[in-house]
């Protein structure tokens, strides 16, 4: 294993020459290097199957890369998956408390961290509900709250809003943006929605099909907080168009 991971104190995430070849010989990622600093929200867009999720698994330590290294503080890493992955037998509150529980945080503090996070994602009043009675959007909020209890300096988002409807998705985008502004984490977001990428990010990276490589990089100049109507701004459309062209080129 050539990969090393060292703990940084400034709350940022750095990939250095990451390569990933699976045991069956598939090369998923090739020489990926970029940094996400505190106060940055970087989104990676790419065709499905290009290894975007693999990148996050490597960042979190779920996978060891076959080349290169990652620097990140893994003890307080926010990470939400495509599915909300709530535990069905736990109430919203108990789900949000899960990480504190696994990390042996004292009960009183656990309770308080969970309540803050629940309030923050707008689930106040639903603490005692079970996941089966929540809508898709609410489940995702619960999943976000669970990660927020870690007070994450770095937050990984793996296509979290792919399964919800368009309106809910726009709401969740705005809320994610508010969380980003409020908590000031370094965000790394994966999606294949260009408008979601441009709306949320300070920087958009375009990844090519297998093996995944960063083929283009766009700085997003719009000021925060961004209003949902920004999506209909001509500059927004122009930038989205440029990303789209690169993305299409990356498919071939």
């Amino acid at each position: 294993m050539g990969a090393t991971s060292q703990v940084l104190t400034d709350g940022s995430l750095a990939f250095d020459g990451i390569g990933m070849v699976f045991p069956d010989g598939t090369e998923a990622l090739h020489d990926i290097s970029f940094t996400v600093n505190k106060g940055e929200f970087v989104t990676v867009v790419g065709p499905s199957g290009c290894g975007k999720s693999t990148l996050l698994k490597i960042a979190s330590g779920l996978l060891e890369p076959t080349g290169g290294s990652v620097s990140v503080d893994r003890d307080h890493l926010g990470y939400v998956f495509q599915d909300a992955t709530l535990l069905q037998w736990r109430t919203v509150r108990a789900n949000v408390e899960l990480f504190s529980e696994l990390n042996n945080v004292p009960v009183a503090e656990r309770r308080q961290l969970a309540q803050e996070a629940i309030d923050l994602v707008g689930l106040k009043g639903f603490e005692d509900h079970y996941p089966k009675s929540l809508s898709g959007g609410m489940k995702m909020r619960c999943s976000l709250a669970r990660s927020l209890t870690l007070k994450p300096p770095v937050f990984l988002f793996d296509e979290p809003f792919g399964a919800v409807d368009e309106i809910t998705r726009e709401h969740l985008n705005s809320e994610t943006q508010q969380l980003f502004l409020r908590e000031g984490f370094a965000g790394l977001f994966i999606t294949h929605s260009i408008s979601e990428a441009v709306f949320l990010s300070t920087k958009v990276l375009v990844m090519s099909a297998r093996p995944g490589q960063i083929v283009a990089e766009f700085d997003v100049p719009f000021d925060y907080p961004r209003d949902p109507s920004l999506r209909f701004d001509p500059d927004f459309a122009e930038l989205s168009g440029k990303v789209s062209v690169e993305l299409r080129g990356s498919h071939s």
Binding site: L77, T85, W89, F99, L102, N103, Y130, K132, S133
Partner: protein, 280 residues
């Protein structure tokens, strides 16, 4: 699905409530009455008097089998004996089943080693091993329990194992990311995730344990007589009423045990899990 449906359902009012009850009870009730009618038809019309012992009319069965004090005492003693064997057998099957399923869930290699033998055990016809069981364990209560365990073990193992393996990969990843120990993972993730499947297995096995106890009684009669012994005795004496009464009792026992585990299941998982299963 709305947010409010975890709360108690809104109480049905007046006519609605009556209608609800009627809708739930009328179909089985009318089928039951039809069957009773058919029973009487067979007893009185199809069978001539000399052959009526083959199917006694219901009121006779109740009168002789349950209202007669001596017979009733026999039946209740036998019922108690079989119930005890079934419960002991089921408890042992649960202990063995849980232990094996947990072991198998911890390492694929253990599962691969044990599972074929479980299938083989399941495939053994009990009749074929009755002589062996009596060699090894005698013809008393121990052998009855052994038969009961053999019959009820398999569904517990299979369902528990399936349940323990049913937690989704994403949830496992969460536990991995937070360095959860094997024990924590088992206790906080795999076991709760397995509960619905475990109860499905328990309900099947509970029913089977009653069958196992009665089959056990049937072959191993030393000591107190269970329902199986009673069935055997009545059959050999052509006591139609008592025979039918014993049959009814044994199936009632099965229904009660099955219903009991359904009730526990509802208490344990009803709030978070929509179980699809027949209600008793």
């Amino acid at each position: 699905m709305t947010i409010d449906d975890t709360q108690t359902p809104t109480p049905a009012t007046g006519m609605g409530r009556v209608e609800q009850v009627a809708r739930a009870t009328l179909p089985p009730l009318s089928l039951g009455l039809t069957l009773v009618g058919f029973w009487y038809y067979v007893s009185y019309v199809v069978l001539e008097e000399s052959r009526r012992f083959l199917l006694r009319p219901i009121h006779q069965v109740i009168k002789v089998g349950f209202l007669d004090t001596d017979n009733r005492n026999d039946e209740l003693l036998a019922l108690w004996s079989s119930t005890r064997i079934a419960l002991i057998g089921l408890s042992i099957a649960i202990s063995i089943g849980f232990t094996l399923a947990i072991l198998m869930s911890q390492a694929k290699i253990v599962e691969k080693a044990i599972f074929p033998y479980m299938v083989t055990l399941q495939a053994i016809p009990i009749l074929a091993v009755v002589p062996l069981i009596s060699f090894w364990f005698g013809t008393g209560a121990v052998s009855r329990v052994v038969v009961c365990v053999m019959i009820s073990l398999f569904p517990i193992i299979v369902n528990t194992l399936f349940g323990l393996q049913s937690a989704e990969q994403g949830a496992h990843d969460l536990f991995t990311l937070h360095h959860a120990s094997r024990m924590t993972r088992l206790r906080k993730l795999m076991f709760p995730a397995a509960l619905p499947a475990i109860f499905a297995g328990l309900r099947i096995s509970a029913g089977l344990s009653v069958i196992g106890a009665i089959v056990g009684d049937f072959f191993f009669g030393k000591g107190d007589a269970g329902i199986g012994q009673l069935l055997r005795r009545h059959a050999s004496r052509l006591n139609g009423e008592e025979l039918l009464a014993s049959v009814i009792l044994s199936s009632l026992l099965g229904v009660v045990v099955f219903g009991f585990f359904g009730w526990i299941q509802k208490r344990a998982t009803g709030r978070w899990h929509d179980t699809i299963s027949a209600e008793v």
